[in-house]
């Protein structure tokens, strides 16, 4: 008997369950269409303007920084000044999702694609922001490579106000709306941290030391 059949057999006999027939299996699978929610905290069900404020406040509480911009065209200047203020090299790896953006005269060296080991700063685009805890939702794919979220010292993320939702469940509905489930869905709440050295909280363990969110009006 295969290990699979032994384990499933042990589970069934422990629970006193018979091998399910096709009808039981079909009924079981059908339940997954309902997307039934459990209790969602009230803080996630407030008017959209309040959700934006909550998202930003929560992001600050976990050590992220934010800048509010009017439109995508304002991003390059904001990136350039951020790199300058942080004393980071004037170069950035950008997600192909943002390739249409014009960098004009900005004194920043721009490369596109997945992150490379030498990248100190990256710029990507979030699928959504979850207000309840200031959490970004980032998805893998050719337009937004996953390594951009984890390799650099500073990770900059573009998030549009209309993509700010209340709860994790709302965020997951956005993932479902993509059709196929992406290989990776990353919920990111603040920059990397550790307390493994004598319980002292230190930012920037293995992932980004800085997380900067550029919140766009539209």
């Amino acid at each position: 008997m295969s290990a699979r059949d032994r384990i499933l057999g042990n589970v069934r006999s422990a629970l006193g369950r018979a091998e399910p027939d096709d009808k039981t299996r079909a009924a079981y699978d059908a339940r997954f269409d309902a997307h039934t929610r459990n209790t969602v905290p009230a803080r996630a069900s407030v008017p959209h303007a309040a959700l934006i404020e909550r998202f930003i406040a929560e992001a600050h509480l976990v050590g992220a920084t934010t800048a509010r911009l009017d439109r995508l065209d304002d991003v390059p200047a904001a990136v350039a000044s951020y790199l300058r203020d942080k004393n980071l090299p004037a170069r950035i790896r950008v997600a192909p999702a943002l390739q249409s953006m014009s960098w004009g005269e900005q004194p920043v060296e721009v490369g596109y694609g997945k992150a490379e080991p030498s990248d100190t700063a990256t710029l990507t685009r979030a699928l959504a922001g979850v207000a309840e805890t200031g959490t970004l939702l980032l998805t893998s794919g050719p337009q937004t490579p996953t390594t951009l979220n984890f390799l650099p010292d500073a990770n900059l993320v573009v998030l549009t106000e209309t993509d700010i939702v209340g709860a994790y469940e709302d965020g997951w509905d956005r993932v479902r709306a993509l059709g196929a489930t992406p290989r990776a869905v990353n919920f990111v709440t603040g920059p990397s941290r550790t307390a493994d050295i004598a319980q002292e909280l230190i930012l920037g363990a293995h992932g980004p030391i800085d997380l900067h969110i550029l919140v766009l009006k539209n």
Binding site: F32, P41, N149, L151, R183, A184, N186, P191, S192, H206
Partner: protein, 470 residues
């Protein structure tokens, strides 16, 4: 992991006299408890969410077979593989053969308690594959060649000075006592390892039946680098990690970080579904879930089923006076603290883990704070009873209990004897009010005095008072 649980008494005795351990542990009692309290209080729905989390997991376990089957189907649909392993030995062989398929030299590892349970590191080393722990705490104890002492803070028993010594020795850099500098050192040392590794191994906090996804919850980002950069990602998961839907996971996530570290949400919650897609620029080309039973199915349908709800948050040990006193290593096995005292006997056998269920004051704090409301004290009592029934308790303890039982069944004799003993102790100790030492009671009097009885027995006082208070 090899168990030394049978040596609990000696281990605990040593721990109590280890001043550096005392220093390191002093923060556990304060930090974790306060932060959990604040996080729980800040969310009005916290208790409701706990109740729902318990119900979700109960329902899930009752249909575990269906969830496991769907999970497997969905993993395969997304280009991944599921390897079913009845026990630790099968799991180790499975991991080894996947590593060998690409001639792996080094393997990076995210934190996995199941990895400790099946002893994967030692096994890979014995087969000439170098495992590199990337979680900072795990990295520290790997340098120190020690097992973890806490399920979410594996190096919590180490002081900063001890870590500084370790880094100086292994990194060959000037010794630093600055926390940020120490973290930066480890960050730099591990960078290249992520790129060089042929395989990345992580654990799983959840398996989601809906989509066939595995989920890790971390703060450092090491788990993500571990699973994204090498060509193969191996997930070690035991069968009870299952949750049905994303909505169900969201509910449990809301109580997990708050109970564990007092964060509202851990920094990285990563949902992985299958292998790299054809058009993806990064991510592993192969995705393997090693689905391990290792004693779990045997707990289903028994009084131990409640233990399978555990989400490994660590709250029970963070709130345990015994854990605060002796630390995690004294328990001698992967899972310390109350969850260990309840779970280790199931994994190791009662004879080996006999002392662990006794390492409790039965104060009940663990059950109070357990987000999954696991009746830990009840399960510890269950093991105590089992140990007595199986006749594996020490002779002295068994005879003492027998003797007590004899008197308890003969109330008149019981009263006569307690009255006599009380009278004798009163007569002997009344002058000083306390005893510095007593025959057969050195376990108590070695560390403190025993107050001398002040008068009659409880029975006598009760009989006297009853008339008056009515």
């Amino acid at each position: 992991m090899k168990s030394t649980a049978h040596d609990f008494k000696e281990n605990a005795h040593k721990a109590l006299h280890d001043t550096e351990l005392r220093e390191a542990l002093s923060v556990v009692g304060k930090n974790f408890i306060l932060k959990r309290r604040l996080a729980a209080d800040a969310l009005p729905e916290f208790e409701t969410l706990r109740d729902e989390a318990v119900e979700i997991k109960k329902r899930t376990l009752n249909e575990l077979d269906l969830h496991l089957e769907r999970f497997e189907r969905k993993v395969i649909e997304h280009g991944g593989q599921v390897h079913w392993c009845i026990d630790a030995a099968a799991a180790r062989e499975t991991v080894l053969s996947i590593c060998r398929s690409v001639n792996a030299k080094t393997v990076t590892k995210g934190k996995s308690m199941l990895g400790e349970e099946i002893g994967i590191n030692g096994f890979l080393e014995a087969n000439n594959i170098r495992p590199i722990e990337t979680d900072l705490g795990e990295y520290i104890i790997q340098l120190a060649d020690e097992p973890p002492s806490h399920i979410i803070a594996p190096a919590v028993h180490k002081t900063k000075s001890q870590i500084a010594d370790l880094f100086e020795k292994h990194h060959k850099l000037p010794r630093s006592m600055d926390g940020e500098a120490l973290v930066a050192e480890a960050r730099a040392m591990l960078r290249q390892a992520y790129f060089d590794a042929d395989v990345g191994i992580t654990g799983a906090n959840f398996l989601v039946a809906e989509t066939g996804s595995s989920v890790i919850v971390t703060n450092e980002g090491n788990g993500d680098l571990t699973q994204t950069l090498p060509q193969i990602h191996i997930v070690l998961a035991s069968i009870e990690k299952m949750v049905p839907t994303f909505e169900d996971m969201a509910t449990i996530l809301r109580v997990l970080a708050r109970s564990a570290t007092g964060q509202q949400m851990s920094v990285y919650t990563t949902v992985s579904t299958g292998a790299r897609r054809a058009e993806d620029p990064d991510g592993p080309e192969q995705y393997h879930v090693v689905m391990i039973d290792q004693g779990r199915s045997a707990m289903l349908g028994t009084e131990l089923q409640d233990l399978l709800r555990c989400i490994r948050c660590g709250a029970c040990m963070n709130h345990c006076p015994i854990y605060h006193a002796v630390g995690g290593h004294a328990y001698g096995y992967v899972y310390p603290g109350p969850i260990g005292a309840a779970l280790d006997p199931a994994l190791l056998g009662v004879a080996e883990a006999l002392h662990l269920p006794n390492a409790s004051t039965f104060c009940g704090r663990c059950e109070e704070v357990c987000p999954m409301r696991i009746p830990l004290p009840k399960i510890m009592r269950h093991w105590r009873e089992r140990a007595f029934e199986d006749g594996i308790q020490p002779v002295v303890q068994r005879s003492a209990i027998r003797l007590w039982a004899f008197f308890a069944r003969n109330p008149l004799l019981y009263r006569l004897n307690t009255r006599a003993a009380m009278w004798a102790l009163h007569a002997l100790g009344a002058a000083r009010g306390r005893f510095k030492s007593l025959p057969f009671a050195s376990g108590w009097t070695a560390g403190r005095d025993l107050p001398a009885p002040q008068g009659g027995t409880f029975h006598a006082q009760w009989a006297a008072k009853k008339g008056r208070t009515k």
